[in-house]
């Protein structure tokens, strides 16, 4: 049996449990990959048994944040553009007992927020950060981003982008994050597993998801607004770590690696170290 039902009485179980009903449907464009990643994140939250009482959603500014802000039924702390990691630092250092799932975008994290991103990785701040990488500034109408491909036509690169894109996972690994992974929006189960691993790993978990923006990236860069075509294009640019082993450097040119880059469980971060530090220095 199948029906097209009346919304008043119907609700997805994950929405019923974790999202604010009055804020749904969220404001993502049709076909936007952010919704898929949020869906995977909620599956992870559910499987881990996290609750609105012990988990806070943290955001910056941009599609990553406008879409996720005030949808979580618990606390939502949305920072200024680029400052999500600085805010997450203040929150986690004050409440090390709570879980923080942080959403950011390629501009929010890779451009204006670059410095805070680097230092959060260096400090190995014990939060889980999910980077929605759609290769463009979506919310503001389609400007070039640090992760836009070379040659991309956007509203601020009408003649084509002459800069190389930023590999933010490499930066996260280099700066010291404990867990770093990259997936595509259609790697649903892998994203959910990564979020679970991230929450369970001490230190910064940085999970980048390459996802489709049919409205801006699709229309300006790929000349299509069909979400499935944007997904297909993303898949064509990517190659798994395993498959990459079989390719030569020449064949690898222009390809984006995906998979788990690092998962270290022995590097402590600022949160645990500060607890130890206080034991030594607290007098009163």
């Amino acid at each position: 049996m199948s029906t097209v039902g009346d919304t008043l009485n119907l609700i997805h179980p994950l929405v019923a449990k974790y999202l604010r009903r009055e804020r749904m449907p969220h404001m993502a464009c049709p076909g936007c990959g952010i919704g898929q990643v949020v869906h995977a994140t909620l599956m992870a939250v559910d499987e881990l048994g996290l609750t609105p009482k012990d988990t806070v959603w943290v955001q910056g500014v941009g599609c990553s944040s406008r879409i996720t802000y005030s949808t979580w039924v618990g606390d939502n702390v949305d920072a200024h553009h680029g400052r999500m990691f600085a805010v997450a630092t203040g929150l986690k250092m004050s409440r090390p007992d709570m879980n923080f799932i942080c959403f950011t975008g390629d501009g929010d994290c890779g451009a204006i927020g670059g410095n805070h991103f680097i230092h959060a990785c260096r400090r190995n701040l014990d939060v889980t950060a999910i980077l929605f990488n759609n290769g463009i500034y979506g919310m503001t109408g389609g400007q070039v981003a640090p992760t836009s491909p070379l040659g991309a036509v956007t509203t601020t690169t009408p003649y084509g982008n002459i800069e190389d894109p930023f590999d933010m996972c490499k930066m996260a690994v280099a700066a010291g994050a404990s867990y770093v992974a990259r997936w595509r929006s259609t790697d649903f189960r892998q994203i959910a597993n990564s979020v679970k691993k991230g929450v369970q790993t001490k230190g910064l978990a940085f999970i980048e998801v390459l996802l489709q923006c049919p409205t801006n990236f699709g229309r300006y860069v790929l000349k299509t607004s069909n979400p499935q075509e944007v997904v297909k294009w993303i898949k064509e640019q990517t190659i798994s770590l395993k498959d990459a082993e079989k390719l030569s450097p020449e064949e690898m040119k222009g390809k984006i690696l995906y998979g788990e880059f690092i998962h270290q469980t022995d590097r402590t971060g600022i949160v645990e170290r500060y607890q130890q530090f206080l034991k030594q220095h607290q007098k009163e």
Partner: protein, 386 residues
């Protein structure tokens, strides 16, 4: 949590007194970035905060500091950051987050010679308007206190934290390199003598609580729940309704703007603090604040010794500006000499405005580096008195 108060007599810099005042007020979170002449406060916090179980972080830049302390306050902590002119400029956007979400915390500006990097190690008073009007978008009223001495640096820092909780907003301690770096006596009283305002928490369940009281714009002592208390708080940089949901509606913007302005302007009686000396029979007044206050007072005493009927007036809470008190001074005297360490004229503009033409207002400004000498102010007084 222990109070961290260490009663006694100390010989310390103003910057250190600020740190002790913060700890006495219950501050247990500090995030800052080194910048002369405020670094001594950061250094004192780095030594003292861990002793009382607090969190002290040196962040990667000024912007990280202000966002970090805003977040710490959202997580329930009383929080402090310190900086000087160029760093305050960097913090202004982040300050907007604190203003809009009505987050209590304290920002210290130890002013130095400017503009731009200026003279890092020397005094000036160029940020009066920056702290009040610097954060983009207006639609708010800010509170700033300014000490003249090490003792006041301690006392007013506690007052800043108290006002931050009462008015649920960021509060500035506007000081300068002279006060920050002068070593003098600080008396820290017994804990029982200190008046500390604790954070207000909701007394109603979440479904009945409005995170942002847009319908009662003049409300003070308003609860500020933290994360993890079951209130499902929503904090964001956007104009938002009383729940915290972002809104583009005109009436929401209007209500939010009125809330952020009226909550301060409706309580000017609580926010007026001035120092007045020898004003009873004064024909002439000298107005100064912060590091220029004591030279100005000394000049007034020199004038009195010569038989000139001069009085001294000092705003202690500089924002909201004490319009009413300044008008009283203007109605009493013929001439007002405003001393400050800037050439463009900032305090003098406020005094002129508040005087409503009742007295002649003169500016005795200087680019900074040194505070005025009493003799310089005295000579200017004599010149104008003719």
């Amino acid at each position: 949590m222990s109070s961290g108060v260490k009663p006694g007599r100390y010989f310390v810099q103003g910057d250190e007194a600020i740190a002790e005042g913060a700890i006495a007020a219950g501050c247990r979170f500090f995030a800052g970035y080194p910048i002369t002449p405020s670094s001594e406060t950061s250094e004192t916090m780095a030594r003292r905060l861990p002793e009382v179980g607090g969190v002290c972080l040196q962040m990667e830049d000024e912007l990280a500091s202000i966002h970090c302390i805003g977040a710490a306050s959202v997580a329930g902590m009383k929080a402090l950051t310190v900086s000087s002119g160029p760093g305050i400029s960097l913090k202004l956007e982040g300050l907007g987050w604190g203003i809009k979400n009505e987050i209590p915390y304290v920002v210290v500006d130890v002013q130095r010679a400017g503009p731009s990097n200026g003279v890092a190690t020397r005094v000036a008073q160029g940020d009066l308007y920056t702290v009040r009007y610097g954060s983009a978008g207006g639609n708010c009223a800010l509170i700033a206190l300014s000490p003249k001495s090490t003792q006041e640096a301690f006392d007013l820092t506690i007052e800043c934290f108290n006002l931050a909780e009462i008015f649920r907003c960021p509060v500035f301690l506007l000081t300068d390199e002279t006060v920050g770096h002068t070593r003098e006596l600080l008396v820290i009283p017994e804990e029982s003598e200190l008046k500390i305002v604790k954070r207000f928490k909701p007394t109603v369940p979440p479904e009945k609580f409005s995170m942002y009281p847009l319908e009662t714009p003049e409300a003070i002592n308003y609860p500020f729940p933290s994360i993890g208390e079951g209130y499902g708080i929503c904090v964001s940089p956007y104009t938002h309704n009383s729940k915290g949901y972002a809104s583009t509606a005109q009436d929401v913007q209007e209500k939010m703007a009125k809330r952020l302005v009226y909550k301060v302007t409706a309580h000017l009686d609580m926010l007026t603090r001035v120092e007045s000396q020898m004003m009873a029979d004064a024909e002439f007044a000298v107005v100064a604040y912060g590091g220029d206050a004591r030279p100005a007072l000394a000049a007034v005493e020199m004038a009195r010794a010569q038989g000139l009927k001069v009085g001294f007036f000092r705003p202690i809470i500089v924002w909201p500006f004490p319009d009413g008190e300044v008008l009283k001074v203007a109605e009493k005297v013929k001439k007002i000499l405003v001393c400050e360490l800037n050439i463009d004229g900032q305090l003098v503009r406020e005094v002129e405005r508040a005087s409503k033409g009742k007295a002649e207002v003169y500016h005795f400004g200087s680019g900074g580096v040194e505070p005025h000498l009493p003799s310089q102010i005295f000579n200017e007084l004599r010149r104008l008195f003719k």
